[in-house]
């Protein structure tokens, strides 16, 4: 069974990548299994300066999922370059650096500081965070702003740039096409869906931040739909993410048009989720008649072109 996937900057031995924010820099999971088993690792968002994040509670459970409002807590790009990236160099896996910021210039600054690291193979722009220069709206919700930050990142970057799209928009295909045109090498989709829970005893929001990002199996159908719609409209690779718990879920994303996948909150449900999925993937691909991951990518798009429903 051929699990390999080649994407811009990323030579993945298998298509499974822990998603940014759910895996830190891998240190804790390295106590549980060999990180070299993974196709890649999307490390926690880096911002120019340290961010202390939101007050607690930051976590709430939901039916088949969870809400989080961590607030991009991280030590800042200098610390990550100095302490975390050299540590990650010991593993035979592809490191994707997730980049976040409050202004377009923040993304450029983080990328410039990470360019010299041989450990980072590609960037993933988190454009879901509120932007201070544009009235607090996320860059990812406006095609022009999304394209602009993509262009600036591409100019600054010496490595391929993937853009992680937010699902909290009316038309995700429009945003995807805009960042493709601006030079994005690939897409990662989807980020979390904005949600909220309220405590019945106190009538107050459960999260200190009031709202948070919904993830887990509850969002998987939304993610599959968005990957599918986008895959039909763009010519750059898509890394699918949203509620993946099993090798069967991976296959569903591949069918929808994803070339690889990120696994997020499943790591909390089962800390061994990623190696288990990787181990099970050959069996599932074989069961449905595939000899490689590549063969399965975009399989469902073919049917629509041939009007199989009629």
């Amino acid at each position: 069974m051929d699990l390999r996937v080649d994407l811009p900057g990323l030579h993945l031995k298998n298509p499974v990548i822990p998603a940014s924010g759910c895996f830190g820099y891998g240190r804790e999971f390295a106590e549980l299994y060999d990180l070299s088993l993974l196709g890649g690792i999307a490390i926690k968002s880096a911002t120019p300066k340290e961010r202390i994040g939101n007050p607690v509670p930051r976590i709430a459970e939901t039916p088949y999922g969870m809400l989080n409002a961590i607030g991009l807590q991280n030590h800042g790009v200098d610390y990550i370059v100095e302490k975390e990236l050299p540590w990650l160099a010991q593993f035979d896996t592809e490191i994707i650096a997730n980049v976040a910021g409050a202004t377009e210039e923040d993304y450029v600054e983080v990328i410039r500081k990470m360019n010299a690291s041989p450990v980072v193979k590609a960037y993933e722009l988190n454009i879901s965070c509120p932007n201070v220069k544009h009235g607090g709206i996320g860059l990812g919700t406006d095609p022009k702003l999304a394209a602009q930050v993509t262009r600036m990142a591409k100019e600054a970057s010496e490595k391929p740039v993937y853009v992680k799209l937010t699902p909290n928009v009316t038309n995700i295909v429009e945003i995807a096409k805009a960042v493709e045109e601006a030079g994005a090498d690939g897409l990662v989709m989807i980020n979390t869906l904005l949600g909220m829970r309220i405590d019945l005893k106190t009538a107050k929001p459960v999260l200190a931040n009031t709202t948070g990002g919904l993830s887990g199996p509850a969002v998987k159908p939304v993610a599959v739909r968005m990957v599918y719609q986008t895959a039909k409209a763009v010519n750059i690779p898509i890394i699918g993410v949203g509620g993946i718990m099993s090798a069967e879920d991976v296959l569903e994303f591949l069918y929808a048009g994803a070339s690889a996948v990120e696994v997020g909150s499943a790591n909390f449900h089962d800390p061994y989720a990623c190696p288990k999925i990787i181990e099970d993937l050959p069996r599932v691909l074989e069961k449905y008649g595939y000899q490689s991951v590549k063969e399965a990518t975009g399989r469902s798009l073919f049917y629509e072109q041939n009007n199989y429903r009629t």
Binding site: G21, C22, F23, G24, R27, E28, F29, E31, L32, K44, I52, G53, V56, P57, R58, I59, A60, E61, T62, P63, Y64, G65, M66, N68, I70, Q73, G216, P217, S265, N267, F268, H269, D270, P271, Y272
Partner: protein
Amino acid sequence: MRNDTALITEQVMIAPDIMRMELETGIAADTSCGQFIQILVPGYFLRRPISVSQVRDDNHLSLIYRIAGDGTRVLSQLKAGVTLDIFGPLGHGFPVIDEDVVLIGGGVGIPPLIETAKRHIMNGHHVTAVLGFASDSQIFAKEELESLNAEVIIATMDGSCGVKGTVMDAVHEYGISKERTVMACGPLGMLRVIGAYFEHGYVSLEERMACGIGACMGCVARTPEGDTLRVCKDGPVFEIGKVVL
């Protein structure tokens, strides 16, 4: 820290909405007082972090938990003979120190103090356990601690048993010196008062968690200097003065 399929050997309600569950698991051999395990409750997404109340032997753990919501209600209905997916032991627990200690627990904060009491008593030290409850109908763990030879002092808010008032009212009434080493677990307000009174000791914090291993930054506390601590990984037990309560 590992994954295991644990067998429930007994599960009983020991006070209103307070359950005691006995588990057969090899994780017991590595578990120290004040640590916790993450339990996957069938049908629920996030694991439930539950502190260990006693390490019976290398193959048996005892847990005491409160039915706080739907997930723990489902957990409470599982019978002996059922297996559970558990992960642990997790976190840094209470230290075992070479002196007599005062243990203070409020309600469902009491369980991790039981193993802590046992280890100090086994080392030949005297343990004073101050337990706080709403009323005498809520009392649990008293006999368990007394059978370990701990001195147990009860405080109830309505005065139906022991000292009327909070655990701190009992501390004052019994003249427990602020110079003794305290180890406490319970509501944040209680820990705050304890941290202000005792000169040295340890508190165990509770927070909503996701990963339980320090990766997701979901459960954080702050140092007085403003640095971040992870309740699941750096704690849940912290030295008084090293964490903002």
